[in-house]
């Protein structure tokens, strides 16, 4: 959770991590260049834009969409999105009848290669505890009201599969370029806590 700059808890955490980094470099357990490289990788190469490209392609290419839903891992890899926390991907499709939402109740499992690292709320006790028990109330808090007749499917990421929600295609999709379509796709839409 974000802390203000005078929060002693946050200051303690910052000190803990600084001491750890210094110690690890001094002990030779860490190459500082590797620290910088991995942060840069997640800040530059990985994030929801990857997932949005997958979704936009599925919206416009029925064959790709079929493949994506059948074998998410291969179809996503074909666009170059692979890596830790995305080795085994399943894509679940939202329709007028079914709404999918993903969570990790036990920790913070999340499809890194297509969505990047998870936002703070996804890792919060409130989201983890509540979305499995009262998904509709949680989605209301996100501003998403589902019709009663829409079935809600919650996917708890308890093992090695990581999930991506394929949001419903916008009705004006034919008027939009691939780039514009991808712009429409939000991270929360691919978690299932927003419509697109």
């Amino acid at each position: 959770m974000p802390h203000d700059d005078h929060d002693p808890l946050e200051q303690g955490a910052a000190l803990r991590v600084r001491a750890l980094e210094e110690l690890m470099v001094a002990k030779g357990l860490v190459d500082p260049a590797a620290l910088d490289a991995i942060v840069e990788y997640y800040e530059r190469d990985v994030g929801p834009r990857n997932g949005a490209a997958v979704v936009a392609k599925a919206w416009t290419d029925p064959e790709y969409k079929g493949w994506l839903l059948r074998d998410g891992t291969a179809a996503i890899a074909s666009l170059g999105f692979t890596g830790f926390q995305g080795e085994h991907m399943r894509v679940v499709e939202n329709t007028p009848d079914v709404h999918n939402v993903i969570v990790c109740t036990l920790c913070s499992c999340y499809p890194w290669p297509v969505l990047g690292l998870p936002p703070t709320w996804y890792k919060s006790a409130a989201y983890r505890s509540r979305v499995v028990r009262e998904p509709r109330v949680v989605l209301e808090e996100f501003g998403l009201t589902l019709p009663e007749e829409t079935r809600v499917q919650v996917w708890d990421s308890t093992a090695e599969i990581r999930y991506l929600v394929l949001p419903q295609r916008p009705s004006d999709w034919q008027e939009l370029s691939a780039e514009d379509l991808a712009e429409r796709v939000t991270r929360n839409g691919m978690i299932g806590t927003a419509a697109v």
């Binding site: 991590v17 001094a26 620290l35 990047g116 009663e148």
Partner: protein, 220 residues
């Protein structure tokens, strides 16, 4: 372990902090993340060992400390367990004793990024193993949890669901977490009716899916 981390269905945590919408708010959080990613190679440890160490944080700290501080605390635990540091070193950040560096080489930047991009191998050859459950079969989640790290949440214990897919023969988190991996097991996606889990407060057609390793399940 029936720990504080097993949050599914717990009540009393209030509203979702939807506006906490960022990945990192402080630079030290990035460093904590990066330290875990790099030390996983040199200590070494795997994701399940790291998760287990996070789960062992005292419940009050689990609730009040920042997510990335918990990552760092878990890394400290794994370093202590490996005998690579002592408490005083962790406090001061200064080296007191050397370590056998040949046995714990730091991962080079390029290796790390390439491996991160490639992903890990988490399945194993089935070599004649036969899955105990078939798609569409009714299964009951075993009623008792393991004392150690496990990936079956309390909220499905003892409940009956239906196998919707056999995901394959995966390294088993319970074994990986204590360095006894991969000890592979079949892993299944199991569907539960929301009302089975939560009673009449849940909506009739809503369902839940969990991925559960075979030892967590029995025939229903």
């Amino acid at each position: 372990m029936d720990g504080i981390h097993d949050m599914g269905g717990m009540q009393g945590f209030g509203r979702i902090p939807i506006n906490q919408d960022t990945v990192f708010d402080h630079n030290w959080q990035k460093r904590a993340f990066a330290l875990a990613e790099t030390l996983a190679w040199s200590v070494p440890f795997d994701a399940d060992q790291h998760r287990r160490a996070i789960e062992q944080i005292a419940p009050v700290d689990y609730l009040r400390r920042d997510y990335f501080e918990k990552w760092a605390i878990a890394v400290q635990t794994l370093l202590l367990d490996a005998g690579l540091v002592d408490e005083e070193e962790l406090r001061s950040g200064r080296v007191k004793f050397p370590i056998p560096q040949d046995e714990h080489p730091p991962v080079p930047a390029e290796t790390l990024v390439q491996a991160t991009r490639a992903g890990a191998q988490m399945t194993c050859p089935e070599t004649g193993s036969v899955p105990a459950f078939a798609v569409d079969q009714a299964v009951r989640v075993r009623p008792h949890g393991a004392a150690g790290h496990t990936r079956v949440p309390r909220y499905v214990r003892g409940h009956i669901g239906r196998v919707v897919s056999n995901l394959g023969f995966f390294q088993f988190a319970d074994a990986m977490a204590v360095g006894k991996g991969p000890a592979p097991q079949f892993c299944y996606t199991v569907e539960f009716e929301a009302r089975t889990l939560w009673g009449e407060d849940a909506q009739a057609d809503d369902t839940m899916f969990l991925d559960l390793w075979e030892p967590y399940l029995e025939s229903a």
